[in-house]
């Protein structure tokens, strides 16, 4: 009798801890979802009031208290273009090397290790590196080119990893088929691997680029300008960028009250941009994944 009470109590305690435990687990998920929702609600609520066609299509006026953010949109686009031209081909080539050519030896492991570690280097450190290498040594000055290349280096580990995932998803039988017919390695890659891996590679690349476009610390000292009344005319010019513009409007402007609405508008444009690219990529990736699962 006594032992059964003891057992019951033990069971009760186990049940209670399970109840509370999973309650905590659920609460942590809801907390994060709520925080995210609140984020989006606050920014879009205040941002939408500012956004108009003029806001998107005109340069800032009157010491950035009026007008739009066109130069920042164009600048971010241009700098991301440079980033893409640098990081996407090299990222793909590196992934092809790692997945198709590299032998599993110590050196390959070292390369993989450095890729993973590069992904963890703080973005401000990339900024410092860009200042020395691109701005000073290679004499690109503070420019679209310097900033784009700095962001390119930052993006590289992401594009490599994403491209390799895409290569992994191509079944080995495709490779064996080509090799059995006498194709050389490159012929095999070109005809039987790349066409199938390319959509996945590009999706990963776009995701990485969307992230790079939102970075501020690496471009602050390599080319982003506080205020420019004109659009950059060449890749050696400075430029305005959305994330840096948001930073400037939020913290550096002399008149906070006039700058704040514009900052909200800029933040919303940036968020919409990131969300659209990410959701797009997630959807495409889901479809690709299902395509191979037959």
């Amino acid at each position: 009798m006594k032992s059964s009470i003891k057992k019951n109590r033990k069971n009760f305690r186990a049940e209670l801890s399970q109840l509370l435990g999973f309650l905590f687990v659920r609460i942590s998920v809801y907390t994060i979802l709520l925080v995210l929702l609140f984020f989006f609600y606050d920014v879009s609520n205040r941002g939408f009031k500012v956004i108009s066609w003029e806001f998107l299509s005109e340069p800032p006026r009157r010491g950035m208290t009026e007008g739009g953010i066109l130069p920042a949109i164009v600048g971010t686009f241009l700098v991301t273009l440079i980033t893409a031209l640098f990081a996407v081909p090299i990222g793909m080539a590196a992934a092809i090397y790692l997945h198709e050519y590299a032998r599993p030896n110590r050196l390959t492991r070292l390369v993989r290790l450095s890729i993973r570690n590069l992904a963890g280097v703080p973005s401000i450190v990339y900024g410092l590196f860009g200042v020395i290498l691109f701005v000073n040594w290679l004499k690109f000055g503070t420019s679209v080119l310097s900033a784009g290349l700095t962001l390119g280096l930052l993006t590289l580990p992401w594009t490599i990893t994403a491209s390799e995932e895409a290569l992994k998803s191509v079944p080995d039988s495709y490779r064996h088929g080509a090799l059995a017919l006498g194709a050389t390695k490159w012929q095999m890659i070109r005809t039987n691997v790349l066409p199938y891996a390319l959509p996945g590679m590009l999706t990963g690349a776009v995701l990485g680029l969307a992230r790079a476009a939102g970075e501020t610390a690496p471009i602050m000292f390599t080319g982003a300008a506080f205020y420019l009344p004109y659009l950059p005319r060449s890749f050696k010019d400075q430029f305005m960028a959305l994330p840096y513009h948001l930073y400037v409007m939020a913290t550096q402007h002399h008149s906070i009250d006039q700058a704040k609405p514009i900052a909200y508008g800029t933040a919303l444009v940036l968020i919409v941009f990131v969300v659209v690219f990410n959701l797009g990529a997630i959807l495409i990736r889901g479809r690709l994944r299902n395509k191979w699962r037959h």
Partner: protein, 301 residues
């Protein structure tokens, strides 16, 4: 016959050329990593012609632009960085582990397909936007709760950095919880343990190295984060005494001062020394996490 041979030779050459091209791209990652370290090191070294190493690490006074006597002590910035990061992980780690457990043990397949992209979305929010939220939303909230004149302090920075570190903690912890062999779970349930007991006493201990790695990687992410802390912590140069003090982290200090510093001065070199410290700290943390994960992978194979 000869032309066939010639053709073979050319295509052979082409093959090798292409392979080398790919190989070089692969090696670039290693070159960049070493390059970052080497350039930071060589740019940081000249700073110590004028700065006493001992003073650099043990003094808490950082005032490089003082006209009488410039001072270069990084102690308060190091402590600030650690304070903000510790606060961030104290929030992000339990929360992240909770979400990971939810994804691996509670959520149905359908719910997981929704929650996972949301977590990825969280990772994609630019840090400057998070900083902006800290400035406009979290700051005033903290000021009201603690009755301060403004809410730009270490607590604000920690809350925001927790958001930045969460996705990392969640995804790595979840991966390692998922990697626990199903047989462990079944054995535990068969012995009469309930699902919570199985999670806490079987799955988490089995996945502990991956979970530890997720903590480390979150830490690495939080230490180097710049824009959020720059915008949300107030950036006071004094030595911090608690979470309600305004603090200036290493990364924020670089961001604040690099824009105004004249090139090739001691101050300029000293900022690169800060960058080098940041680089070494994150490198050691990430490398440790990496080694832990490698080891776990081999063990589970």
């Amino acid at each position: 016959m000869a032309s066939v041979k010639k053709k073979g030779l050319i295509s052979d050459l082409k093959e090798r050329l292409i392979q080398h091209l790919f190989e070089m791209s692969g090696w670039l990652a290693l070159v960049v990593l070493l390059g970052i370290f080497a350039l930071l090191l060589t740019t940081a070294i000249p700073a110590f012609k004028e700065i006493n190493l001992k003073e650099f690490f043990t003094s808490s006074r950082w005032d490089p632009t003082s006209p009488e006597k410039p001072e270069y002590g990084i102690l308060s910035m190091v402590v600030s960085t650690m304070l903000v990061t510790a606060g961030a992980l104290a929030i992000a780690f339990p929360l992240g582990l909770g979400v990971a457990a939810y994804l691996s043990d509670v959520a149905s397949h359908k719910v997981r397909e929704i929650v996972k992209p949301v977590v990825e979305l969280l990772a994609a929010i630019p840090s400057v936007v998070v900083g902006f939220i800290g400035l406009t939303l979290v700051g005033p909230l903290i000021a009201r709760i603690f009755k301060l004149s403004n809410g730009l302090n270490a607590l604000n920075g920690s809350l925001l950095l927790a958001i930045m570190a969460l996705p990392t903690v969640i995804s790595i912890s979840e991966d390692s919880l998922q990697a626990v062999p199903q047989a462990y779970v079944e054995a535990s349930l068969a012995l009469g343990a309930n699902r919570w007991q199985t999670l806490v006493r079987v799955k988490i201990p089995a996945a502990i190295s991956g979970i530890a790695a997720s903590f480390m990687l979150g830490l690495g992410r939080a230490i180097g984060e710049t824009m959020t802390v720059l915008m949300a912590t107030g950036n006071a140069r004094s030595f911090p005494h608690g979470f309600l003090d305004s603090v200036r982290t290493l990364s924020a200090n670089i961001a604040i001062e690099l824009g105004e510093v004249p090139y090739y001065t001691t101050h300029y070199y000293a900022l690169f020394a800060l960058g080098l410290i940041l680089f070494v700290m994150t490198f050691v943390i990430n490398l440790t996490a990496d080694l832990i994960l490698e080891k776990q992978k081999r063990k589970l194979q």
